[in-house]
Symmetry: D2
Subunit: 350 residues, 4 copies
């Protein structure tokens, strides 16, 4: 990190950036109210910080060990860069601010009428953002892969439905980008780009999506520790995009025998991550539990744990859905969840 004097000039900053590039590193420039801080992106182990400290306009220069320094609350606070919690803006919805945010919609978009009916009903139930899967990551190539599998035209048609449903019912929309070649297309039609749990480690995809400069909903891989999760979020931040919404969606179950929940919902990760980073954290009880009958309780628990919002798969008739039928709830049930969560949030946010 290189902290510039408050009176440092544009030229002095540019000179520092030039010096950084000589090491084969990139610069991340953060302008706080009172000073500018330049983060180094890449391996800084061979950087001569004493040299930087002596450059004109530089107040302080020193190495930072943590692999997620750009999104670190500690460094952000120390340098006066971010408030306690970054508020990510998607359309007119703020994520990470004072109000809870609810993202709802079908697991998978199957048809225009299906999507529009669900959009209307989740909006009425209190949801703020509309979700719908188009490029579905699936464990088996022999399972339904979403409308994104129907070539570029099929994908684009579904993306348009999503966009139009968002317009009609006044909700920003989010869908998953599974591969690098889908980035441009998805960016054209959505407000938030989702990177799914299975792709958390895909650093090229992360960088590519980051460069759209759209807000990114970034899900934790089920085999990833918290430190790893944040280190990969740093790949997004390193492209200059800090509009990252972190999402806990369950980790690998432990123990022999059948799994009573689809994954282990690691709710303590929510406040633990909030101590580490200023990024907002939401939770996905649908994938974490995989059980419709646990959504109410686990949604309430996630909010009590401190989540800034929830993503919940919703369908007017869960049992007829092509994917994830056993974990979707109805719009009526969603309304109950949202109502309870709002009241718990009020209690917690003393």
């Amino acid at each position: 990190m290189i902290i510039m004097n408050s009176e440092a000039t544009k030229e002095e900053i540019a000179d520092v950036v030039e010096e950084i590039k000589k090491y084969g590193l990139k610069a991340d420039i953060s302008r706080g109210e009172y000073r500018t801080v330049i983060g180094l992106i890449g391996d800084e182990s061979k950087v001569d910080f004493a040299h930087f400290a002596a450059l004109p306009g530089v107040k302080e220069a020193r190495g930072v060990e943590t692999p997620y320094k750009l999104i670190s609350k500690e460094y952000s606070k120390r340098f006066g860069l971010e408030s306690e919690r970054r508020v990510v803006q998607a359309g007119n919805i703020s994520i990470g601010g004072d109000n809870l945010v609810f993202i709802a919609g079908p697991c998978t978009i199957e048809s225009k009428p299906q999507l529009f009916r669900i959009a209307e009903e989740v909006k009425k139930a209190g949801a703020h953002i509309l979700r719908g899967g188009i490029f579905k990551p699936r464990s088996s190539v022999h399972s339904f892969q979403g409308l994104g599998a129907n070539g570029r035209a099929g994908a684009e048609e579904a993306l348009k439905w999503l966009h139009d449903a968002g317009q009609k019912f006044e909700m920003p929309v989010v869908t998953e980008v599974r591969g690098e070649t889908q980035i441009d297309l998805v960016a054209e039609y959505t407000d938030i780009m989702q990177i799914g749990a299975r792709n958390m480690y895909d650093q090229d995809l992360l960088a590519g999506v980051a460069r759209t400069n759209k807000p990114i909903l970034f899900k934790r891989h089920f085999g990833a520790g918290i430190g790893e999760f944040l280190s990969f979020a740093e790949y997004i931040a390193a492209e200059g995009n800090k509009d990252i919404i972190l999402c806990e969606r369950g980790i690998l179950p432990v123990g022999k025998g059948k799994d009573y929940t689809r994954y282990t919902f690691d709710l303590a990760a929510i406040p633990a991550i909030q101590k580490e980073t200023y990024l907002p954290v939401i939770a996905d009880p649908s994938h974490a539990t995989g059980r419709r009958d646990l959504i109410f309780n686990m949604s309430c628990a996630a909010i009590a744990a401190g989540a800034s919002g929830l993503m919940i798969e919703t369908h007017y008739n869960p049992s007829e859905a092509l994917v994830d039928a056993q974990q979707m709830i109805t719009p009526d049930e969603l309304k109950e969840v949202i109502d309870a969560c709002l009241r718990i949030h009020q209690l917690i946010a003393r």
Copy 2:
């Protein structure tokens, strides 16, 4: 399971029990309002249920596959034996009833004044049951093992303090029994016997503690799936003791790198277990998170998930405690936790 006719006589029941013994099995007799159900304990794979069905007084006889049939909500409901949730009584405190129960106290009893001061303060903060470790399970033989390590006399002295503190501040008391030879001594002085996570698989200890007929606080091992946890609770029930309080206290973390929480707090296990069994389920945020700064949020989350109560390590000066200093909270903090939990419980228990 063998369901007797409502008019079955004592003799007919005794005859069925005799027949069961011939198979080398034991009988678990449950008397519901309208009928008596006899569960078979042991391997029933070679049992001739048709033969049982033909015995006088028998209404129905059939094998049950689940390894935790005696504590199963499904079977209990089918046979009209238990209500939705069993209420375990410890002194004048009901666990699993309408009211939340808070168990608090030091990780480890270090002295009489330490215990009495904490007892007084947690009572004032709203706790219902007093905890305090005497026989401490430790990862290292070179760590402080609790006063139980000071021979029988030392253990008994600490047990008396616990008992007396419970009397003085009107709280039932609970402490852990770590080995079979400690059972009688601990039973003499405590209201609830705790079996710790590390001993969950110790079936001889389970059976021995069960036979005291005291309520048992039974903690899930950090490597155990939910099915395994319930199957070992069945070892307690098989001794005729169904006053079992199940406790979720965290499972093994997943992922590389440092652990941000001591264990993974598996909160979805709480409602999942409640669907399987009529036994009450509580949670232990202290051991699950290992972090004082997460106790408030994760306590609220556990109650939102549906827990019937919490066990929280408390100390007037956490930093001077010999064991678990980093995860204990003060009585003042406990009060905040209890207050928030009570309000959340009201919201959830619609």
Copy 3:
């Protein structure tokens, strides 16, 4: 699976393929010595197999449940399609045949002299295939990312070195493809395309790499069960590319406390996978253990478990390597490993 009569005509086969496409599915045509089998790729749950069975030239038509049917040994045997073990050919090296195959080279290519010196020395030690990382997957954006990070020109230069070293020392070469945009470039210069553990779930990358029709070295993710690993290998096979070399490289450690090995080397997965699929399986003791002092024993163990070969990171001076210094061995040590493995293989391959 649709099994054609031995005398089925090209036209009859084409008609079946047409019918398959009507369901939105793809066809995988396998021509065995005596018959042709057409696998369905995609969700066959709504397929009317009776209709297919009635088509001209069809002998039998029926659904297959397993998510990895195309690479399944069971189905392959039943339909007489593959021998016990598929032999994957890379240049003049056979993987999965009677002889063990050793892949060696540096973790990361750092310079032309480094690579050429290592290539020469591992060849002398008995290695058959040269490895060298260019696009390095790293946990931290602040770590050295390999020469692939130096733009397309930098990547291409390193790829040429790899290609030339392979030519000079007569070894096919392999390197990892981390993102879709790298596929064409890497395919131009290498004999085998590696998909790393972190990208195992990246189905778009898998499909893209598969379509190069080069042999693919496919590594198991550290959080993946065996069934999942095979289901994702099926994504490669579904593109018509069955030249897949599976690689066990360690899974997430279990238990609290420091990890004595980097990952848990799941050696029993090797014979277990070999019972499921005809694809060859190799092992990577370097990443699995992360410890130079365990490579000898664990290489021998992997061969004893039945592996068809090993991939071992090698460097003439491990301590000066930029990445993975603690797990690389010297060419002299490699020679000892290869010698011992060859003798164990002889013993095992009775």
Copy 4:
């Protein structure tokens, strides 16, 4: 650790021990060829080592941080106490010496003829030690619990059979002790006392069994890291019993979906543990894999990894066994395993 001068008198040693007791600690006295070393057992954090260093006869006194110092190879070497590997003697069989040791027998003793027939056949196949379960740890109280469940008389009868079979076929015998109340009885009839994986954390059982001064076969819990495993072995050593045979028997599987092996066989733990401690390490491929068809390969792999021996469940007719039928092999198969292992051991032990 307190190292005495080579000429230290008995009285001086006794004085040091007295001082140690004043701290509430116990002393572990190890007499090497040239000096005596006194290990402190318990929490030494408050010990004044400068005071000890000043006592007559003391050469050096200093604290040791590792929780498994008594069994540590590093400390043992530094103080010249143990050779590279401790050889544990059971009857006329040496475990941890130059020769591999094979322990075989039924999972569970069902009858005298069953046991004697198996004993005869495994002896002929090359086994050195006879195993047979009497007190069976089971996941379900409704499964067959072994003859140990038939009261003290039943248990004693089975123990006598085991003892007699050992005498008749000249093999030391081993069986599991599951609870503290079984210790005396089992010690009377067996040469080696086994502590099973599920009881690894049961420190009171460990201490009790250690005090019989019999060799102890100590199995790693499936949820335990290597450090934890060794820390609990230290509980045994702390009772003055260092005749401990460590056994790797598989840890919790990782990943979603069905388990292709019963547990994950952590073979790299074998050499990793051997770097830490002088205690011999064996492996149990039967429980680790749970698959008869993998025993041959995984036995060979365990020996290649460096194991000092194997424990393999054997039955003349596996399919009729009451427990673990799917993982037992026949005596003929055992012979093949032993023959291959002996040849691999020769190769490895260069």
